[in-house]
Assembly symmetry: C2
Homo-oligomer: 329 residues x 2
Amino acid sequence: MPDVLAVDLGGTNIRVARVDEAGKILAHEKIPTPAAQGMGAVIADIAGLAQKLRAPDTLALGVGTPGVPDNETGVYRLAPCNLPCSHGFQFTAELKRLITLPVVADNDGNLAALGESWLGAGKNEHIVIIFTLGTGIGGGVVINGRVYHGHHNLVAEFGHVSIDYRGRLCNCGDRGCVETYASASALGRDAQEALRNDPAAKSSLLFKRCGGEAGIDKVDAHMVCDATRDGDPFATALLDRCCAWLACGISSVVNCFNPSCVILGGGMALAGDLITSRVNKCLDRNTRKYVPIWRDAKLVVAQLGDDAGILGAARMAWQHVEECCRTVK
Amino acid sequence: MPDVLAVDLGGTNIRVARVDEAGKILAHEKIPTPAAQGMGAVIADIAGLAQKLRAPDTLALGVGTPGVPDNETGVYRLAPCNLPCSHGFQFTAELKRLITLPVVADNDGNLAALGESWLGAGKNEHIVIIFTLGTGIGGGVVINGRVYHGHHNLVAEFGHVSIDYRGRLCNCGDRGCVETYASASALGRDAQEALRNDPAAKSSLLFKRCGGEAGIDKVDAHMVCDATRDGDPFATALLDRCCAWLACGISSVVNCFNPSCVILGGGMALAGDLITSRVNKCLDRNTRKYVPIWRDAKLVVAQLGDDAGILGAARMAWQHVEECCRTVK
């Protein structure tokens, strides 16, 4: 049976899997990313692991990366913070040379969206958008089962959709970017600030759980969600506000794309219904009852966890194989 | 030579044109829309005028409407304010019956984008988005020369991209929708309010030109632009602020789509460089210098004026003809 190789290249680890046409992972392995040794070492390690896992019928290799490879040339257009050595690197060309298989690469946010739309929360959906809530807010768009790439594969920057033109200053130079309000990092930082400055904080469960003043620096989004689940009004107010901000950003994106499905992914989305119920409440109150575009878009939580990216990479490789077959015919 | 018919159905007028494959208007005519007599009368008038203009080699008919016909069935999913009788109407089916030609319909915002990308400001562009600045802010997206339709053709609602989560309340139920800040109507309304309440207004050119207190109600976006062009600091401040709001909305949309081209259309865009220079200044200051996604997107003014919609309708009809040919083959 034919299969493809899928690679999830992260700043910390490289994961490689062999995946069949139905999305079943047949074999997989993980090694540390030698980021400090430069892209030559990174790509040699990917190729080595790929050769090891490769089968006689392996047809292609798909790679998800934290950077933004140009969707036509595979050259990196942006050096991501966790792989600075990748800037300008001829990624797919180099990898193809080492592995002698057709190679395709894409941004890992795009591929998480593709994976979820193939086998996860967006299965059988017409138009899928994903918000990945982590250090920042990433995004991806899948239309009729294909990743939407924009002009130079620089989308989907949902984290930089502004929810306040005079709001918080973002690293990108703009103001009010939703990732400065509603990413996991932002929620953690806001919680720390409130614990330090809000007099009401001292009687909260969150304050008690983090060990008081000395433990405030450790507070993160996960702890805010846990304290909310356990009924802490202080944490609840923080999460309510964060989800209202997120709803505002999602609403703008829905008005752009008219999706059939909005997926929340990333670490923070593991809180599941705690987040979706709040975001849905804001959307119902604001727009959903009036506006058909919003009735189209159901809000769901990602289902594939850490496998979304690698399965998306496999799907991309399969799509590449299909295209090559069509061209040959 | 074969041609197609293109219809621009508005709340006030119906325009019909016969258009060749290069986009040349071979014949055209305009009649008032009998909106008060219901959609039966409207569609009979469209069919009558179309029969009159039709040539022996006319292959199809494309209609742009202010409503939102479902892109597959042609049934209206929303009744637009200026054609309330259209709600739920079997638009394309009825018209096809009367005219015995293949009929395709789409929202006029989408078709303005398609027209501009075919023959106007977005010619030869990979991904075109249009902001139509009028009573509200309409939108359209054209990807590789095809309209992007979303799940149920309910896009692109760029006017409802929020620029302030706690901002102005919009008719849609949401807050901060950019059309409540940066449409032609919003600029006119803001100018009137400032003329009434701002003490500095009384010494402005705008106040003088409108004839003082008694004329404030007549002030519109056009007058604000004219006074700005003539150096009035009061009007300039109003337009600066309006363009900063618009830039915030545009920036969010660019972060969603990574377009190669952003077109400003509608009545207010006739002010041309007066608007684009201000929006560009905001974008340069905020994001363009840091972010490649913004360097991709050039900002331009629509070129086809009132013909954008009808040419877009013609292009859609031609695309339909091509698709039918492919299917037959």
